[in-house]
């Protein structure tokens, strides 16, 4: 038993990926001002995760972590239903990131959106 444990432990540690590979990005330029038409959305790269920037009908910008809280699929903006939609299991979120319907158990993580010059900057609340 001890022999098995002494052989198994290094193997278990070996297959555990080293920590610190995740990007520590806290803000990113998600788009240029005017790039996004009203009632549309855009997926952008936030570190190693996808984020979603939405320009709603009234021209208000909002951004969220685009990883669905159900099973990790990447959500998209549905311009017909005017909500955020996940194609995997039909989960729907409103434009505040709250769950409207479907299986997602939690709201989407909301990001801050600021305009700096020509850039739309999205940042995480620290």
């Amino acid at each position: 038993m001890a022999l098995l444990a002494s052989a198994g432990y290094p193997i278990l540690r070996y297959i555990t990926p080293p920590k610190g590979t995740e990007s520590a990005a806290t803000s990113v330029v998600a788009a240029k001002v005017g790039e996004l038409a009203r009632n549309s959305g855009k997926i952008f790269k936030f570190g190693d995760k996808p984020g979603i920037l939405i320009n709603d009908l009234s021209g208000e910008l909002s951004a969220f972590n685009a990883v669905c809280t159900h099973l990790n699929c990447t959500v998209q903006y549905d311009p017909e239903a005017k909500c955020i939609w996940c194609a995997c299991h039909n989960g729907r979120f409103d434009l505040k990131g709250r769950v409207i319907s479907g299986p997602p158990p939690r709201p989407l993580e909301k990001y801050n959106v600021n305009i700096r010059g020509e850039d739309i900057v999205v940042s995480k609340s620290v």
Binding site: I15, T21, E22, L71, V75, C86, A87, V99, P103
Partner: protein, 357 residues
């Protein structure tokens, strides 16, 4: 010449003993006889998988940057590359179908009853490995469909209570599906799982050889039962069935070459119609219908625990079925099996043809 070679080996290794064992082996003849072919068909398709898999290794490159391009190269530039890949993909699916048919036929014929409990347990283990091979192989072309299906699949593993998060990290090689994931899946697909298959399949086949073929309860009690010699009678029939399967496999591979799809882009929204391999679909669809919360727990956690419980129940079927242990028939487990199959078929149908949005 052949006799000389035979004698040479027999003097050294006593191969006559093996021959005698084969010569004594018989196969019961009864109205459910046809189901005996499915174990052999699964084995044959496994050989096809190994052969075509080795050929694919000559060109395949297991990195996120090159995997898709290398499969594209195989299918568009390498002579008969499209055929080798198509045969590999089709035979993988047919092998899963044949393995499930073999499992369900053994279930309904109650072949798991004593003394064959461990033959059943190793068989269920092999089904698990077949599913693992399908899951890991699905990602290797690094296309859109497989990328997101793997994302969902590994997240499902991540929902397992207590160890889920660690399990997901180990499977993905990090937090996200990335280069590290494809390397790991490749290692699992071409080394770890095939070695496990060889070990478990070896045990399974040795048990079948030692204990012989199982007979249904109705046949076991019949004093006038008929049998057929395994070698050469049943073996030759097996070969004919394998030839038919090979014909069907080649026809499917040529008429419906396996599609490559679009290259995965981790920073694109998940497209509509994302699906795992067909034998995972019923679970995928079930998770669609579960509400966000069931009592205090997340819906998917309850679903995953349910799938786990179903898997454990399947493994211990021989020990649950106390009636067949005594050689008695009891329809309860068969009814449960039929209901399970109907549920799987319904969920699979809904995943393909039900409303997508």
């Amino acid at each position: 010449m052949f006799q000389k070679a035979y004698n040479w080996f027999d003097e050294r290794y006593g191969i006559s003993d093996f021959k005698d064992t084969f010569a004594k082996k018989t196969v019961p003849i009864h109205k459910h006889f046809i189901w005996y072919y499915f174990g052999g068909i699964t084995l044959f398709l496994l050989f096809v998988q190994i052969a075509t898999g080795i050929l694919l290794l000559f060109y395949y490159k297991p990195t996120a940057a090159e995997a898709y391009e290398s499969v594209k190269f195989i299918t568009t530039k390498v002579e008969f590359g499209w055929l080798i890949r198509s045969v590999h993909s089709w035979s993988a699916n047919l092998m899963a179908l044949s393995a499930f048919t073999h499992l369900f036929s053994a279930f309904f014929l109650k072949s798991y009853r004593p003394p064959r409990e461990l033959t059943w347990v190793t068989g269920v283990g092999l089904i698990g490995i077949v599913m693992g091979l399908g899951f890991t192989g699905y990602l290797l072309p690094w296309n859109e469909l497989s990328f997101f299906a793997t994302k969902v699949g590994t997240q499902i593993a991540g929902s397992v209570p207590v160890v889920g998060s660690y399990l997901r990290t180990i499977l993905r090689g990090g937090e996200e599906i990335s280069d590290a994931t494809i390397t790991r899946f490749f290692a699992l697909h071409v080394m770890v799982l095939p070695i496990c298959t060889a070990a478990l399949l070896g045990l399974h086949l040795v048990m079948v050889q030692l204990q012989g073929m199982s007979e249904p309860i109705s046949v076991a009690d019949n004093p006038d039962k008929k049998t057929m010699k395994f070698f050469p009678n049943f073996f030759l029939r097996d070969l004919v069935v394998w030839l038919l399967v090979l014909g069907g496999l080649l026809m499917l591979s040529v008429m419906f070459p396996w599609e490559l799809g679009r290259k995965a882009d981790p920073f694109m929204p998940t497209p509509l119609g994302i699906k795992p391999e067909w034998y995972f679909l019923w679970m995928f669809q079930t998770l669609k219908y579960l509400p966000a919360k069931i009592l205090l727990f997340d819906g998917e956690v309850v679903g995953i625990l349910g799938f786990g419980a179903a898997g454990i129940a399947l493994v211990i079927v021989p020990f649950l079925d106390i009636w067949s242990r005594k050689g008695k028939r009891n329809p309860l487990l068969s009814i449960a099996g039929i209901l399970a199959i109907l549920y799987i078929l319904l969920m699979t149908y809904l995943a393909y043809f039900g409303p997508q949005k």
